[in-house]
Symmetry: C2
Subunit: 330 residues, 2 copies
């Protein structure tokens, strides 16, 4: 099987490629070729035995999507996107990359389908940003999409296109709405959601972290490892049970910041918790108040998608996957 | 005020222009100029005292949208679309007219906004085709959009774009999901939904009509006069109460075919009902079974949108507006 990852240089793209290399396949099927596409050069995963092709291109430029599809990969995982903050700052760029790029990819698949009957599995990473406040306490699987960002709008449009292109038989697509990824590895970043990860990741290595909101703030989380599991499942499961409702809100863990902190205390002790510095930020508090906090995700759970069930588990996943299994610095 | 109607040669476009001419304005404000755009030449409404410009153009061609917006109309009513059956038969044409045409219009508005601060009211006619079965018995205002046609997909995307362009301040938009229009004037047509009108319109003038489904079939209706009322309200109301949820499922009348027929009997007698010939058509029955049949429309009702409350009323509106007020032929 040939797998194409678009957005392969990003955190989730790298982790998915690494998982394919580690497993030697995808959902039990051997992967013989891996094409890694991103706007910056992706890195081939260590230990992968098959062919690796790295393509550096911008999906929204002429001919780029056709180049992606030319090798007729059986599975396409489309993760590439301009993030929320940037799509909000730069309206045109957001629409060009997130909407036009996705549509051009789907069109290139359709053209190859018309030529050769090619009908790949397409996994499109969507986002809980397709939802906009006010929310019910628990967001059900049939709740409407009223995004409050251009990014969320672009993702919701991608979901609609994917369903229609699948219904028409051009591809076999599934859109997965990922929870906020926590604990996100790497350096603290300026994203409004960054603190959810910062307040755990930094104290776990003995560093201070800033908490800009109250401990009552509730949000929707899954680990990077769970997110890779979602992608593997979406790439390999039978999609017939979904009918033409090809978008799933994925399972996650609904937790307050206070619950995150108590989990940190249980796993890493009071000293780690003492490294969290409270610096209320009204702007961040206001942005976060507009985000969804809890989903039923009943449909995805029924289809075998699994996330963590406690923040202790999310922290332990991070210690295992990112810190070599131990808490040396605390 | 300058009003632009795109899709002005269609049934609803003509009726809206006629209503503006009859009222001398829109929602109490004088209309001094009317621009009528369509792919075929629209006809100026009788008795309109202001300037009328007729433009024959295809919105999806280069520069067409900019030409529409150049006169800076304060109100734009966008009704133009390839209908459901055609968008399903011709995938590329459907996306070109229904998606690209709409997006090019919104982009032309944004460009004029960036130049001059122009921020028109935009009324976008959407459709209950944004919904796809299975449905709850009563479709609430927060039910998700899972279209089962390319047309419905294109309308749902138009709704999302309109909300985002409004939220960004480029325009002041509202998308209205019209019920099926009944009684549709004119000749019987081959649309799968045609019989809902045919079985009333034809017997009212002494002609036979074919009923291809059972009397138990339930559907969602509003008269052409109600639809024009919706557009007038949408074009002139304060949209602040909508927040950024700029799409409304409009009120209508949920009725079975049997209820339609009993209303016909009450208004026009047994002889009219006797002109309905039952010719079951499994294909049409299957298509219609996938359509929504009943909406709460609570939000739109609360915002002052009003439809008919009985089929007797819908039939009487047709007799008044289309047949000169009398049933001569029956």
């Amino acid at each position: 099987m040939h797998v194409l990852i678009i957005g392969a240089a990003g955190m989730l793209g790298r982790k998915l490629a690494a998982r394919i290399a580690a497993d030697g396949g995808l959902g039990g099927r051997e992967v013989t070729a891996l094409t890694l596409v991103d706007a910056v050069a992706a890195v081939a995963p260590a230990g992968f035995g098959g062919d690796v092709t790295v393509e550096t291109l911008d999906l929204a430029t002429d001919g780029a999507a056709a180049r992606c599809v030319a090798g007729r990969p059986g599975v396409i995982v489309h993760l590439a996107a301009i993030v929320s903050g940037e799509a909000e700052r730069d309206f045109e760029r957001g629409y060009r990359i997130n909407l036009d790029g996705t549509r051009l990819l789907f069109e290139a698949i359709r053209e190859e389908h018309e030529r050769s009957g090619y009908t790949p599995r397409v996994v499109f990473s969507s986002s809980i940003a397709v939802f906009g406040a006010p929310f019910p306490e628990l967001i059900g699987d049939e709740f409407f999409t009223t995004p409050l960002t251009s990014y969320g709008t672009q993702k919701a449009i991608g979901e609609l296109l994917l369903s229609d292109y699948s219904r028409r038989g051009f591809m076999d697509g599934i859109a997965i709405r990922l929870p906020t990824i926590c604990i996100r590895p790497g350096l603290p970043n300026a994203a409004a959601s960054g603190f959810f990860s910062n307040i755990l990741r930094e104290p776990l290595v003995g560093k201070e972290a800033v908490l800009p909101v109250s401990e009552e703030v509730r949000h929707w989380h899954a680990s990077p490892r769970a997110a890779v599991g979602f992608m593997v499942r979406a790439a390999t499961m039978d999609l017939a049970p979904l009918g033409w409702r090809r978008t799933l809100s994925l399972p996650g863990l609904s937790a307050t910041v206070g619950e995150q902190i108590e989990a940190l205390r249980r796993v890493a002790g009071d000293r780690a918790v003492g490294l969290i510095r409270r610096e209320p930020d009204a702007t961040i508090a206001r942005i976060v108040a507009g985000w969804p906090a809890n989903f039923s995700a009943a449909r995805a759970r029924g289809l075998g998608f699994v996330a963590e069930s406690s923040f202790d588990e999310i922290i332990r996943v991070h210690i295992k996957d990112e810190l070599g299994g131990t808490l040396a610095a605390v």
